[in-house]
Amino acid sequence: MKSFFKVSLQTKILGLILSLILFVILSLTAIFAYLESRGTEMQMKQLALQTAKTISFMPTVKKAFHQQNPSGEIQPIAQKVGDQVGADVVVVANRDGVRYTDQPEIGRDAFLKYNYKAIVFGGYYNLETTGELGTVWWGKAPVIGDHGRVIGVVSVGFLKDKIQSSIYHAIVKISLFSSIVLLLGIGGGILLTKSIRKDTLGLEPHEIASLFRERSAILKSVKEGIAAIDEKGLVTMMNASARNMLGLSEDCIHRPIQEVLPHSKMLRVLETGQTENDQELVIHDRVLIVNRMPILEKGRTVGVVSSFRDKTEIKEMVNTLSEVRKYSEDLRAQTHEFTNKLYVLSGLLQLGRYEEAIEMIQSETERHESQNRILFQQIEDAKVQAVLLGKIGKASEKKVDFIIDSNSSLESLPEHIELSQLVTIIGNLIDNAMEAVGRQENGEISFFATDVGNDVVFEVSDNGSGIPEDRFNVIFEKGFSMKGSKNRGYGLANVKQAVEDLNGMIEVNSPKGGGAIFTVYLPKDLHIPL
């Protein structure tokens, strides 16, 4: 079955064309034959009747009936009129059946029977008889004499066989012409196939189909957005990733690219034919990195393919990486701080100032213990511990007071909250707070965490200059930064993104006296939103 459908394009097209032409020719011929034979029969019968009438109305014929030798007058007339209309038989007889024309013998009684309606009622009519001559179509007309008397009957006949053979000849002629048409059809079919194969680069339809399926699968599988336009700038293809990135629906196919994407530079490539790589383009608040490439056919640009990635995505990846790096740096800072203290101790000991050394060790230990007690006893989650430890080190290096609220209590976090997300959320919030208090004396940051209830709550507050109320809306947007420099504004946007990924919520509060409080709520169960 499969092999039947996989015949070559040429065979398929030729087969279809041939069977179509044959079907049309055969049905037309059949219809012609039917109509022709019906029409001819009607026409012949009418002609027979009219001819019979014409002869019967001739005064010469009427007069001849009363003469000595009616045949002498009637025979030539009947012959002539019969020849003119192509009638096969013309019989003029009197009402007793005596014939005045020398025509083939037909039984006298039978003839009288056929003439009955004309003789008795003066009727004009058609008749079909079958006899020695074969089937004959007759037209009958009475000859009306003086006083309305019926004196004879004129019969004009056409042989059915003869008419049918003429129809047959016509059909033969049609068949001849038909075969010429058929030959033309074959020629046309071959040319058509060649032209189609040229368009399809010599590929058979099933090959094209499988190529197309493969292409669709490939386009679907890649994360990059891919779009293509043709010579006229109409969109011919756009994969799902591209539509997602550009926020378009499916119906953008076959529409002009200017309509779909007013900022697109694909038309420029269509003009220049130059490949463009790694161009940045901002569409719908997203920074895209775009590659554009012309589609060439015989050196001519017939379209453009554009592929693009979301730069933001790449940036997020880079950010996460740097968070982790910062965390390790923080730890190094702490180590450095600790080493410094060891140097001081060693100095004091070498100088013999033991009391001061002991005092220093005691105060250090005390500080450590109270911080660590909260950190290790009340916050049981190792990931949060790790992040906080790093930040404590960093704060100490920056001479900022970092206080973990003594009311904090946190058990192990649910598994769906990942380290990278924690680093992003807590790390960024604390870093921001440190930035906020960095430029002032006695800067203080406090951290509070609790998991009482259905949510995990983190709160980071500082005593910095605070956030003006009119900026609450914009601080979470990409590109915004209180620090004033370019490309640093991803911190809070990333925090917000991570919080939303976890179905959580973030709140910001800036009291009149200064300072800012960021509170994050994360549901313990991802499927129960806040």
Partner: protein, 323 residues
């Protein structure tokens, strides 16, 4: 939208304009015309005038009714005239309407008109001049059986009409060689009577009403009538059956309108004619003409004509000669 409104309003105006006429309640709006497709004096003419008189005298139809005589072509001239008229014109008809077409003498047939009514039937008579030596129908048939050409027979207005058919039927039944009968054809019943009185023909076949006049005047003998029983007023005349020819042959007359009459117009005539046939005046006319009441309304007439068409087709094609 504007166009649509315009069209709709136009349509409304048009309907509003045409509806009073289409209502037809005012039919007839002008003088009425009855066509007798023969010259005055014949059966068709008599029928038309009888209707005119009754409808007028009894006040059944208020508008004046005119009679138009259109002789020729065995009725064809009158019927052709009717075909192009409106519903105010009606024409008298008979079986010739059917047989003319069956004999290829006319393209018109009963289907081309609107059937209105069948009014009456009458019977056919065979007459010979008063001084003829033929006394009985049986004598006539015997003579024709011996030599079909021995007598000249008269008929009007054409071969194949009921006058002719009834005689052919009788002769065929008696065993006469029908194709050899010598029929002379005249324009009208009056012409046949004249030919008969002038001894140009030996016998004639005509309707009883036509024969009775000459018979009462003592100019002809009626040999037989085609009814089943002897007729009132012609008690001395035997039926064919009594003369040994087992057949009867009614001759009906009716009235029809032009093609495509509206239902209101047909209903008008159904009402008026059914009223007419109930009047004493009409019954008296029937009696005087030896006609028999045979009223059929328009829908019955339609069916009747179809049946008659089949019947005549058989009659005309049955040569009586075996294959």
């Amino acid at each position: 939208m504007k166009k649509f409104l315009l069209a709709a309003s136009l349509l409304l105006t048009l309907t509003a304009c045409t509806s009073p006429n289409a209502g037809g309640s005012s039919f007839p709006v002008k003088n009425i015309e009855f066509v007798a497709p023969a010259s005055p004096g014949g059966g068709w003419d008599t029928t038309a005038r009888a209707m005119q008189k009754t409808l007028d005298d009894e006040g059944i139809v208020k508008k004046p009714i005119n009679i138009v005589n259109k002789p020729g072509g065995s009725g064809e001239v009158g019927w052709k005239y009717l075909k192009n008229k409106d519903a105010h014109t009606l024409a008298v008809n008979s079986s010739l309407l059917i047989t003319n077409n069956l004999l290829g003498q006319s393209d018109l047939t009963y289907d081309d008109f609107t059937p209105i009514a069948i009014l009456a039937t009458e019977w056919e008579a065979v007459v010979v001049p008063k001084d003829s030596d033929i006394e009985k129908a049986e004598d006539l048939m015997t003579k024709l059986k011996k030599d079909p050409k021995s007598l000249k027979l008269g008929v009007a207005p054409g071969l194949g009409n009921d006058d002719h058919l009834s005689f052919v039927q009788a002769a065929k039944t008696y065993g006469v060689e029908v194709p050899k009968l010598d029929f002379l054809v005249y324009e009208s019943g009056g012409d046949v009577a004249t030919a008969l009185l002038g001894n140009h023909i030996d016998a004639a076949t005509m309707s009883v009403s036509e024969a009775k006049e000459q018979y009462k005047a003592g100019k002809v003998k009626i040999l037989a009538v085609s009814s089943k029983e002897r007729l009132e007023g012609l008690e001395k005349v035997p039926t064919w059956k009594e003369e040994g020819v087992d057949m009867s042959f009614p001759h009906w007359r009716g009235i029809m309108g032009p093609p495509d009459m509206s239902e209101e117009e047909i209903a008008f005539w159904d009402e008026k004619i059914s009223e007419m046939v109930k009047t004493e005046a009409w019954k008296e006319i029937l009696q005087n003409n030896e006609w028999e009441a045979y009223y059929k309304n328009s829908s019955e007439t339609k069916k009747f004509l179809q049946e008659q068409n089949e019947m005549y087709k058989d009659l005309l094609n049955d040569s009586g000669l075996t294959e």
